[in-house]
């Protein structure tokens, strides 16, 4: 993988993870209440907008990335997002990482590393 493709891949992981975490932070706020009031609460705070901004940027970065690498390879390398989000969820939202989840994370990471090494 050339330098630009690698930079775009890295940016994609960071933006996807950042976006998901921001949406989780927005949606998980217990002070938000219910129904329309909940949406008003969320829209008046930064997290939901951070999430939207991340996703818009990710859209651009992802098109650029896929145009530089073979599609099958790009999609396989993009699987790293699953790993990044689970690990971030563990540290930021105290989500459980059971042995089975850790096994899954290691397998996906190994698969991405194998594909990446061959790219």
């Amino acid at each position: 993988m050339q330098g630009l493709a690698f930079a775009l891949w890295l940016a994609n992981v960071l933006l996807d993870t950042g976006g998901q975490l921001a949406f989780k932070a927005a949606a998980g706020d217990e002070r938000a209440g219910d129904g329309l009031a909940r949406w008003r609460y969320m829209l008046a705070r930064p997290w939901i907008w951070v999430g939207i901004a991340c996703y818009v940027l990710e859209f651009v970065v992802w098109i650029a990335f896929l145009s530089l690498v073979p599609l099958s390879e790009g999609v396989l390398l993009g699987s790293i997002n699953i790993v990044a989000i689970m690990i971030a969820g563990r540290f930021l939202f105290r989500e459980r990482l059971s042995p089975l989840r850790v096994t899954g994370i290691l397998l996906v990471a190994a698969g991405v590393a194998i594909v990446g090494a061959g790219a």
């Binding site: 599609l71 999609v75 059971s98 996906v108 698969g111 594909v115 061959g118």
Partner: protein, 131 residues
């Protein structure tokens, strides 16, 4: 009900695959990659990008309808199976080589997703570690 899931998962896979194939076509037509307005205009001047948007919306609606009933574990796994469908399609449509490294990597990734899917199904209810 089984049929509902089968159709739902197939539809989800189809929308995700459409999304990725269209993204690839949109990007390829807009080459070379430049972080400027000219590149963005090239991306949006071909129909492909709109196919990708249709894929996004279709996948989102299908996913939300599935989640209403389907267990999260298998749903999670199915939502990531586009790695396989895209590999087959890339070989077929874009004449991309499928290398042994890619196949080994894909098997590891799919196995990992399967583990995560089983874990989601079993442990979904007590998800958060007490502080």
């Amino acid at each position: 009900m089984k049929r509902f899931y089968a159709i739902g998962f197939a539809l989800l896979l189809a929308f995700d695959t459409l999304n990725l194939v269209c993204f690839k076509l949109a990007g390829t037509h807009a080459l070379p990659v430049e972080m400027n307005l000219a590149w963005a205009l090239r991306v949006f001047s071909y129909p492909w990008i709109y196919g990708a948007v249709v894929g996004y919306i279709g996948a989102f609606v299908t996913w939300m309808s599935l989640l209403k009933h389907a267990p999260i574990g298998p749903a999670f796994a199915a939502s990531h199976m586009e790695v396989v469908s895209v590999m087959v399609l890339s070989y077929w449509v874009f004449n991309e080589p499928v290398t042994p490294t890619q196949i080994v990597g894909a098997i590891a990734i799919v196995a990992g997703i399967a583990c995560l899917a089983v874990a989601e199904g079993d442990e979904g209810e007590h998800d958060v570690v007490p502080a």
